[in-house]
């Protein structure tokens, strides 16, 4: 029997507030922890950040002072959850190490979701995106070796390959071509709602992270590379957020958010290898059950609908961090040269795409190419981790 969060009781809200001592979590070991533990932390941070930002937007559009107060109460707890989760990351890690971990999340989270997405249009959106994050991982890994003389393998530990994806320079599309078609809220599979919200939140956090940490670097090539990739994260957030049906009411969206948090904490609790981190997932699941109950009550009261109408009868299979190498390789073999046109995908460099490319590159190689040239100059080759053999795309193999 699956887990139905509507049938479980959580911790009462007035007992969820934590003291400073309780918030003072011990960070994971930067050198010896499970890479997927770090991925789960980064994912849940993105989910909690979205919870907080969504609640703020809701409050700004909400005329009812009682509801505003209710939102504020839950939101404060969500802020504490975000602090407990994100502070699991160690201060010893460099910004670039955390960045590489963010890209590992983007590859293996999006890869897993693409594999399990039931709707073909949504699946295509994830498949399209994952090849871009995959290429970002490759570029940052090369930058990392240049600046810190460390190999990204020490971070991703062979779970994720590091090699070219769709070249970053081709990710700069006309912004209008980043808007997808939304799913239909009346017919969509409940699992698809969760997938869209999860990926949107993860990419939004990546966007926020790069836009803020990029200027901390002193090395000119690092500053430029963060700028370039941060702008692609803007495209990704546009891409994924437009998948969500804008006809969902605020109450419905709130319920979806809380339900998704239950789903993810439950999933991660089931697979967590670090007992201290697992205890946090379990605690937060028990908090989220109560947040979900409150959201459901608000929906019944203000939307005059039963949350069961939009939710699955039980949680879907646990969302799992695991290698997606074969799947990514298949996409590398078949979808490298895709770009978007309107809400669809094409293989040719159409006029609007070409104009955007010319304008943004200004006749020069972009930072994502400069970083490779500088790496080759320093080391004589590219940094790659190809655990499963040669690159499936002939043109993407390293020229010796």
């Amino acid at each position: 029997m699956g887990f139905n969060p509507l049938e479980h009781q959580g911790i009462p809200l007035d007992r969820q507030l934590r003291s400073w001592r309780e918030l003072d979590v011990e960070p994971i070991d930067p050198d010896r922890s499970d890479p997927y533990t770090r991925c789960r932390i980064i994912t849940m941070n993105g989910i909690e950040v979205e919870a907080v930002l969504f609640s703020h937007q809701f409050a700004r559009h909400c005329p009812d002072p009682d509801v505003k107060r209710q939102l504020a109460e839950v939101r404060y707890i969500e802020q504490q959850q975000q602090k407990a989760v994100n502070w699991l990351l160690p201060g010893l890690a460099s910004v670039l190490e955390t960045t590489i971990a963010y890209e590992q999340v983007a590859v293996d989270l999006t890869g897993w979701i693409a594999r399990h997405e039931p709707d073909p249009y949504l699946k295509q959106a994830y498949e399209f995106g994952v090849l871009e994050d995959f290429d970002h991982l490759f570029r940052y890994a090369n930058l990392y070796e240049m600046i810190e003389h460390r190999k990204a393998d020490a971070i991703v530990e062979n779970l994720t390959e590091v090699m070219p994806g769709r070249p970053t320079k081709f990710h700069h599309r006309h912004p209008a071509d980043n808007v997808r078609e939304p799913y239909d809220r009346s017919t969509v599979n409940p699992l698809s709602r969760l997938h869209a919200l999860t990926i949107m939140s993860a990419e939004q956090q990546t966007m926020n992270f790069y836009m803020n940490v990029g200027p901390q670097y002193m090395e000119p090539i690092a500053r430029r590379l963060y700028q370039e990739i941060a702008l692609i994260e803007e495209e990704h957030v546009t891409h994924y957020e437009s998948l969500v049906d804008p006809g969902e009411t605020w109450w419905e969206q709130l319920v979806n958010h809380e339900y998704n948090e239950c789903y993810l904490y439950h999933s991660f609790m089931e697979q967590e290898s670090d007992p201290k981190v697992k205890a946090i997932w379990e605690l937060h699941l028990n908090m989220e059950l109560e947040h979900l109950r409150i959201a459901c009550d608000l929906m019944r009261r203000h939307d005059a609908r039963e949350p069961q109408e939009i939710l699955a009868p039980e949680l879907p299979n646990v969302l799992t961090f695991e290698p997606n190498k074969a799947y990514v390789r298949e996409l590398l073999d078949t979808q490298m040269d895709l770009t978007t046109l309107g809400t669809g995908y094409v293989r040719d460099a159409h006029e609007r795409f070409t104009r955007m490319q010319e304008a943004v590159h200004g006749g020069e190689e972009p930072p994502s190419e400069q970083v490779m040239a500088q790496h080759r100059e320093m080391f004589g080759h590219e940094y790659r981790i190809e655990t499963e053999g040669e690159h499936p795309d002939l043109a993407s193999r390293e020229r010796s």
Partner: protein, 189 residues
């Protein structure tokens, strides 16, 4: 274009890469055993000695004299260094296959990593701000001179001789590093 490739002429870039080399050697020591571990550990000890000595002779004096509040910054770094050095000297006399070796090594790694990050965040950032290009380059030259005394990769023939190095020769290595650095700085200045 002042890219990273050109930053061999930047002492901060060079030292940050040495921090990476040190972590790589820790990985190697943890991963190996027997003779291989002994040899990797010797390289780690040499690199740590040379790296720290070079910092003490080259970077810390600059921070002290040219960065506002620099003396306090250096004092904090030296405290970290002393703690790491104590752990290092305890380890240095130990058999690398001793069951107590790895736990001690991990403690050293934690100290060294924290010290390296603290340097990058609280000291190097000021060095780059206050040193002009010529100074960053002359300091880099001195660090490279010292670096030659600590190969990060095994060189045939030298490993067996290095095997027997104990605390005494380590102190001698630090002396030699100091001499090399001073003469390099002298030539530059």
């Amino acid at each position: 274009m002042a890219g990273i490739a050109a930053s061999d002429a930047d002492v901060v870039a060079l030292l940050m890469r040495q921090h990476g080399d040190i972590r790589n050697l820790f990985d190697e020591v943890e991963r190996t055993s027997g003779d291989e571990r002994r040899a990797a550990f010797r390289r780690l000890v040499r690199l740590l000695a040379v790296h720290e000595t070079a910092e003490e002779e080259i970077v810390h004096p600059f921070t002290r004299s040219s960065v506002p509040g620099g003396a306090a910054v250096v004092e904090a770094r030296l405290t970290e260094e002393r703690e790491a050095k104590e752990l290092l000297s305890r380890l240095d006399g130990m058999d690398t296959d001793d069951p107590k070796f790895l736990p001690e090594l991990r403690a050293l790694r934690a100290e060294v990593s924290a010290h390296a990050r603290a340097e990058e965040r609280y000291e190097f950032i000021h060095v780059r701000r206050h040193a002009d290009k010529a100074r960053l380059a002359s300091m880099a030259t001195a660090v490279r001179t010292a670096e030659k005394l600590a190969p990060t990769h095994p060189h045939p023939g030298t490993e067996s001789a290095a095997k027997n190095l104990a605390v005494g020769p380590l102190a001698a290595l630090m002396d030699r590093t100091r001499d090399a650095v001073r003469s390099a700085l002298g030539k530059e200045g």
